[in-house]
Amino acid sequence: MATKTIRVDYLTRIEGEGGLDLRISDGRVTSAQLSIFEPPRFFEAFLRGRGYVETPDLVARICGICPIAYQMSAVHAIEHAFGVTVDGQLRALRRLIYCGEWIESHALHVVMLHAPDFLGFPDAIQMAREHGDMVRSGLALKKAGNELMRVLGGREIHPVNVKAGGFYRVPSRAELAPVAESLTRAHELAVSLVRWVAAFPFPHFERDYEFVALRHPDEYPFNEGRLVSNRDIDIDIADYETQFEERHVAHSTALHSLLKRRGAYLVGPLARYALNFDRLPPSVQALARESGLGPSCRNPFQSIVVRALEIVYACEEALKLIAAYQPPALAALPVRPRAATGFGCTEAPRGMCWHRYEFDAEGTIHAARIVPPTSQNQPSIEADLAAVATSALDQPDEFIRDRCEQTIRNHDPCISCSAHFLKLSLHRT
C-alpha cells in the first residue's frame, strides 16, 4: 500500500502559526487535525492574584489584532460581578470602539490575507501589481478603523482608554468629527469591496453548521445579548458552561470547545450573520442580496463576502453613533468591588469571546476562564478540512494542500489567541 506525504512547513497569511495533518487511507480521509503548537502563555494562571483595575490591560495582550474584544468581555464581566450597568453614551462609545476593531481586523483579513487566495497571489503586495486600487482601498479601510481605535483608545494595538465603568477620558464631539469624515469615505470603499469580493470564484461547498452567536433585541450584536444557535441554544451568557465544554487534545495547545450534546459548532461572521440578519439595516440587507447571499450563508469560502458586509455595517453604525454623540458628564461610573463571579461575552471579529472571573471582596481575581473564538472554531475547521479534502481526493496533492490552507483561512483563525507553527502533512496509504 503506497504512502504519500505532503508537507507545508508554515500555514501563511493567518495570525499565528499551526500545523495540519491529513491522513488518507483507501481513498478516504480518515483524519484531519489542525495542530496548534503556539507556546502557551498561561493567562488564566497568572491572572489569579491580579486586580480588576489592571485586568483589561492584561487580557488585551492575548491578541494584538483584537485587543478590544478581550477588554470588552473583561469589563462586562467585572461590571456584572460588581453590579454596575454601563448605558447611555458610555455604552455607545463602547460600540463605537468595537466598530473600529471590526473594520481594521476585517479589512486586514479580507484584503491582505484572504483575497489573494481567490486571485492566485502569494500576498497582497504581489496582488497590488494587478489590483492596486483594491489593495489601496483595503489599506484605507484599515486605516479608518485604526483611526477610530486611536481617537477613542489612544492607539490601535492595546488601546489604553478602556476601564471597568467606562473610559479614562471621553472624546469631545470635535475630536470625533474628522473620524466621521474618514468613515464616510470608508463606507463607500467598503461597499465597493463587497461588490469586488462577491464576484470571486467560490467553490460549491456547503456545510450544515450549528451557528452560535450573541443575539440582542434590537441591535446587530457587539457587547450584549443572549447566546443563541440555529438549533436549540438560547441561554443567558452566564449559563455557557451548562451547554459547552472545553477538551484538551494532544495535538493542540488551544483547548477545543464543544457543545456538550452535539460537538462542533461555529462562531464568527457566518454565525452572526445567519442568526442576526434581521438586525442588519435594510441598506446592508439589500447589499447582501445584491451580492447573491440569502439571510444565511453556509459556504465558508463566502465568509469573505460576509466580512466585507460587516465592514459596511460597522461604518454605518459608527457614523450613526458619532452623529448622536453627546459627551457624558462622567467618563466612567464608579465601580466598587465585592466578592462575586462575573461573566462577559462579546463578539470579537472572529466570533464570541467568553470570560468568567471570580473576585474576592477587594476585587482580586481568584479564578479566570477565557474562551477565545478560535478554540471554539477548531473542531469545525477540522470538519471543514475533512469535507474539503474528501471532495478533492482525485486532485493532485498540491491542489489539496492549497485548498486546505484556504479552508483554514476561511475562518480567519487567530492562532496567537491560541496557536503556533502550522505545517501540513498529508499521508496517503
Partner: protein, 258 residues
C-alpha cells in the same frame, strides 16, 4: 533597482500576541513603498512566498518559552546580518515571563486538563538571552513610526534615532499636564519613552508597557507612589506586568510585598 540588490527583510514570531508584527501591516501609508524598497523575503503572517535566507534584516517578535524555539532562534541569527527585536516579549520576555516568578507546573495545571501534552520551559526569556541582538525596540506594542525609523536606519547603515529617556520628557514635549501632580500614580518617570506618552493624555498614569528607561530610579518613584496612597501590593503589581523580567522592574517588584 533590480530584485537582487534590494535588501532582504524577514519577520519572525516566537511567543507573542502578534501585535508588534501587525504594527508593520498597520503602516498603511508606508507599506507599499516599503515593499518597493526592500524585498520582503520571509513574513509568513503576510505572505505565502517564503524565501530562504540569508536575510539583511530580521525583525524578531516574541520571547523564548520552548526548547524548540531555543533552537529556532539560533538558526534565525545564523541567517541574519542584522537582528532587531521588536516589542516587550522579544526584548524583556513579555507578560508570559510572569511564570518566572511562579512554579510553571502550577500554571500548566491551572489551564490544561492534560499537563503531559504541554511542552514548555520554566521561564520566558528575551531574545538577547540566547543570541546577540543588534538593536532592541521597546514597547507593548511598539510604536510603528519608531519601527519605520529602525528599518530605515539599518537599511542606511546608521544608528536608529530612538531616545532612551523617560516618558516624562514626552509629556513635557506634548504639553500634557503631569498626572502625578494631580494625584494619579504614574510610572512615566522610570519608563522608556517611545509611545508618545499616551496614557497621561488620557488622564491615567503610565503603566510601564515600554519597560525601564536607562538608569531608572524606581525607589524614589515608589516613595512618591506611597505618598499618593499606593499600597505595596499596587507597586508589586504595576512593576510586574509586560516587562516584569526586565531587571530594574523585577527588582522593584521584589522590593514590595503583596
Amino acid at each position: 533597482m533590480s530584485e537582487r540588490k534590494r535588501p532582504r527583510l524577514a519577520v519572525w514570531k516566537f511567543a507573542s500576541c502578534d501585535g508588534c508584527q501587525l504594527s508593520l501591516l498597520d503602516c498603511e501609508d508606508e507599506l507599499l513603498a516599503l515593499a518597493g524598497a526592500v524585498q520582503i523575503a520571509n513574513f509568513p503572517e503576510a505572505s505565502s512566498a517564503i524565501e530562504d535566507g540569508p536575510y539583511d534584516l530580521s525583525l524578531v517578535e516574541g520571547s523564548i518559552t520552548t526548547a524548540h524555539d531555543k533552537e529556532r532562534i539560533l538558526k534565525v541569527r545564523r541567517q541574519s546580518k542584522h537582528l532587531v527585536t521588536i516589542g516587550a516579549c522579544a526584548t524583556a520576555g513579555g507578560i508570559q515571563a510572569l511564570r518566572n516568578f511562579a512554579d510553571v507546573n502550577d500554571f500548566i495545571a491551572a489551564v490544561y486538563a492534560s499537563p503531559q501534552f504541554i511542552k514548555t520551559l520554566a521561564t520566558s526569556t528575551p531574545i538577547s538571552a540566547h543570541v546577540p541582538v543588534d538593536f532592541e525596540l521597546h514597547g507593548c506594542p511598539i510604536n510603528k513610526a519608531q519601527l519605520i525609523e529602525v528599518i530605515s536606519a539599518f537599511l542606511a547603515g546608521r544608528k536608529p534615532a530612538i531616545a532612551a529617556h523617560s516618558v516624562c520628557i514626552e509629556c513635557k514635549r506634548n504639553g500634557t499636564v503631569c498626572v502625578m501632580v494631580q494625584g494619579i500614580p504614574c510610572l512615566g518617570p522610570v519608563t522608556h519613552a517611545g509611545c508618545g506618552a499616551i496614557c497621561p493624555s488620557f488622564r491615567r498614569g503610565c503603566y510601564g508597557c515600554y519597560g525601564p528607561m536607562d538608569t531608572p530610579n524606581t525607589a524614589a518613584l515608589a516613595r512618591e507612589w506611597r505618598a499618593l496612597g499606593a499600597t505595596p501590593r499596587d507597586l508589586r503589581r504595576v512593576f510586574r506586568s509586560f516587562n516584569a523580567a526586565a531587571e530594574p522592574f523585577a527588582a522593584a517588584s521584589e522590593a514590595h510585598g503583596d
